[in-house]
Symmetry: C2
Subunit: 264 residues, 2 copies
């Protein structure tokens, strides 16, 4: 990785110019390829063949760099266009958000929780607020927003959370430990072990990046949107704010793009 050892003179400029974007890219690659634990100011500087203080000159401290990495990560998730039905729109955005997280799980792990606040990370929230505001939720707007965002982001964080440590031995050890749980202490987990094994949030030994919980995520999103839809229906029974989805439960709904007429 390290492109060139330090052999330059004192104030000489690097042969390849050190820009803020180059530093962000290097940090992103470092985290992505070698994991979050490998990320440090020194490691990023070494990757660029540069002393650590250089990073402080260009981007600032560690938290700021992580914030920029977050912005770079989040900027790749596109806001769905041309989806008229608000439920399909929310569903698709959630899918894209999670897909981006699974694309770079090491980055997502660091970035979603640390949440160094930066303006760039507000474009997704703004889009969600805009779509929900059309529904006429009134005072519940902020609660609907928090519920959707919190549940989706939170699920992804927990799904991608590291189990114990990246040693292969300890993974087998974790599996053996879970398989030999005492039925007297944990009667329910042991009884339904086959249904839960390596698929339930605390009953697994494989990383969420390697064993994704796709079906559970779809289930969660459907649960939330069904609940929200029911609430809308109850408060205003005969006013369809958008193309109301009739099928309430059928999961694996194909994301067929509903006509044009987006962005009222």
């Amino acid at each position: 990785m390290s492109t060139s050892r330090q052999g330059r003179k004192r104030g000489v400029r690097a042969e390849v110019p050190i820009t803020q974007e180059a530093i962000i890219d290097a940090a992103f690659r470092l985290i992505d390829e070698r994991g979050g634990d490998a990320f440090s100011m020194r490691a990023v500087a070494a990757d660029l063949g540069v002393f650590p203080a250089t990073l402080y000159w260009h981007v600032g401290d560690r938290a700021r760099l992580l914030g920029l990495v977050e912005a770079s990560w989040a900027s790749a998730v596109q806001i769905p266009e041309e989806i008229a039905d608000w439920r399909e729109w929310c569903h698709e955005l959630a899918r894209r958000y999670r897909a981006r997280a699974h694309q770079h799980p090491n980055v997502a792990r660091l970035v979603i929780v640390e949440r160094a606040r930066n303006i760039a990370s507000l474009v997704l929230p703004d889009a969600v607020v805009g779509r929900l505001a059309e529904l006429g939720l009134g005072d519940d707007l902020v609660h609907a927003y928090n519920s959707l965002v919190g549940a989706v982001q939170g699920f992804v964080v927990l799904e991608l959370a590291l189990i114990p440590d990246p040693e292969a031995a300890s993974m087998l050890e974790a599996e053996a430990e879970l398989r030999s749980l005492d039925p007297a202490s944990f009667p329910n987990i042991t009884r339904h072990f086959d249904a839960l094994a390596d698929r339930a949030l605390s009953v697994r030994w494989t990383d969420g990046a390697k064993a994704p919980l796709d079906a559970s995520f779809e289930f969660l999103i459907d649960l939330l949107l069904d609940g929200l839809d029911a609430r809308l229906r109850a408060s205003a029974p005969n006013k369809t704010p958008a193309k109301s989805a009739k099928t309430p439960a059928k999961k694996t709904a194909p994301a067929k793009k509903a006509a044009k007429t987006a962005s009222a």
Copy 2:
């Protein structure tokens, strides 16, 4: 905090015996009072008036100590008894879990995401699995479990996530930054700013521990349980697996303990 400076001779036992529980308690108090950043092996050792190596003798490395702190934290949330209705039961357990997190936010922040896996932290999952298994969800059991656990834990994690840093100055700065967002870039957030200000997940400047999102949490739980209930109703319309809650939407449902006859 530090009880006694190092003045003892080489192999002499500490005047107050150093047990595993004492170390866990010291770590818990340290994190709780001075924040997660203040937590280190050396700081815990200093609090006990002892050298760091002593901790490694009694509990092992940092990850293991954090796992024990998690167990101590989680063991205080009691599983509801004598609540017949499964929805009220789930709601109450979620409330207690979150209440425990808000009781020690600094500890919860560290512990929920790092999730050093330990057996002790499986008693809550086991209880949830047991209650959900009664509903006859079939293959959806694991998905219902993941949805509830993921959403609840995830929401709490994001709610308690630190905003930028604990300086008072930067909080005002963050507020000013959010108040002066460009309406051209973020039209929806700025339009509904009054409804979102300091109450929406990415549009706030106060710590979740100081400004809890109670109403949003209740909203989320209702959403999830309503959705799950609708799913049950749809798959088996005329079989009431438990006392079916009739009111689907009315939030701020008082947690009146429904009769006895728990644990079938």
